[in-house]
Symmetry: C2
Subunit: 189 residues, 2 copies
C-alpha cells in the first residue's frame, strides 16, 4: 500500500477517535512507521492532510450512495438499510464516530478548506436521503409526517448525534436502537 494512503488511513483513524486538533504529524508518522518530516513530502501541511482525508471519505460515501441509487428495481426500505450500515458498524466497533461528525464538533477551530468539505459532506447526505424519502413517499412505501427534506435532516442528525452520545455513554447497540425507531417513524403508525 502506498505511503500516502497509509498516512490518510492513520490521520482519519485519529480524527475519528480523538478529533482534528488531537491529530499531530508525529502521531500519524508513528502509526505509519516513518518520521514526522517525511509526511511533508506527501502532504505539505496539516490542513492539506486533513482536507485530503475528508475528500477521500466523501468520495467513498458518494460512490456507495450512487451505487445504491443505480440499482434497478431498488427496494427503498433496503436502500435506507444500506445507508444505516456504516453508522451501525462504527458504533459496534466502538471509540470511533463519523469523520465529519468529529470535525464538525470542532468547527470553529478548523481551517476554511476543511470547513467547506465538511459542509459538503452533510449536504451530500441530506440530498441523497431526501431523494430516497421522496421516492418512497410517492410510491406509498413511506408515510412521512413532514417534508422529505425534513426527515432527511432528522435521520442525518440523529445518526451523527447517536454515534457521539453512544461513545460517551458506552451504551450497547445504541445506534441500532435509534435506527430502529427512525424506521418506525417512516411507516406511519
Amino acid at each position: 500500500m502506498k505511503t500516502a494512503d497509509r498516512l490518510l488511513d492513520a490521520a482519519q483513524d485519529i480524527i475519528q477517535r480523538q478529533g482534528y486538533n488531537a491529530m499531530s504529524f508525529d502521531d500519524v508518522a508513528k502509526m505509519v512507521g516513518i518520521k514526522k518530516p517525511s509526511i511533508v513530502h506527501h502532504f505539505p501541511t496539516k490542513a492539506a492532510l486533513g482536507k485530503a482525508v475528508i475528500q477521500r471519505y466523501r468520495e467513498m460515501f458518494g460512490q456507495a450512495l450512487a451505487g445504491i441509487l443505480a440499482q434497478p428495481d431498488q427496494d427503498l426500505r433496503q436502500a435506507l438499510e444500506f445507508y444505516f450500515g456504516p453508522f451501525l458498524e462504527l458504533d459496534e466497533k466502538g471509540n470511533s464516530i463519523c469523520l465529519c461528525g468529529s470535525l464538525a464538533g470542532e468547527f470553529g477551530a478548523l481551517p476554511d478548506a476543511i470547513r467547506t468539505e465538511v459542509g459538503l459532506f452533510f449536504v451530500d447526505h441530506q440530498t441523497w436521503l431526501t431523494l430516497i424519502l421522496k421516492r418512497g413517499a410517492e410510491e406509498g412505501i413511506f408515510q412521512l409526517s413532514g417534508q422529505p427534506n425534513q426527515h432527511a435532516c432528522l435521520i442525518l442528525s440523529a445518526l451523527q448525534g447517536a454515534l457521539i452520545v453512544s461513545r460517551a455513554t458506552a451504551a450497547p447497540h445504541y445506534v441500532q436502537q435509534i435506527a430502529d425507531l427512525l424506521k418506525k417513524g417512516l411507516v406511519g403508525t
Copy 2:
C-alpha cells in the same frame, strides 16, 4: 462578577465554539483580561477548569429540568417544549453547540475526569426525557412507536446532531425543523 466565574464563562464559550483542545489558558486569560498564570490560582490545571465548566453546566441543566418536573398540573407537551428551548437558542445564536456535544466529539482526547462528567450529562438527559415520555404515554398524551427510553435517546441524539450539522451547513432554523418533526413523531399519525 467573580474571576472564577468569568473564567468558567470564557472557557465554556471557547469549548462550545472551537472544542476542548482548541481552548488554551492564554485564550481564556485574554478574554477575562488577566494573564495566563493567574488562572492557576483559580483552577490548578486545564483539566480542572474543564471539569468545573461541565459540572456547572450539568448543574444548571439539572436545576432547570427538575424545575419543570416539579410543576403541579404540568403540561407534558409544554415540558418537552421547554426542553427544546436551550437547543433552539444555541442554534439561533450560531457558531455554538452544546458543551457536552462538543466535548463528546473529542472524547478520545479527553482526560478521564472530563469523560465521566460528559457521560453523566447525557445519562441525566436520557433519564429526564424517559420520565416525561413515560408519563405522557400513560396519560395518553404521547403515542410512542417504541419504548420511552428509545424515544428519549432519539430526541437527545437528534438535538445534539442537529446542532453540529446546522453549524457546518449554516442552514437557517435547522434545529427548529428537527424539533418540529420529533414532536410529530410523538403524537401518532
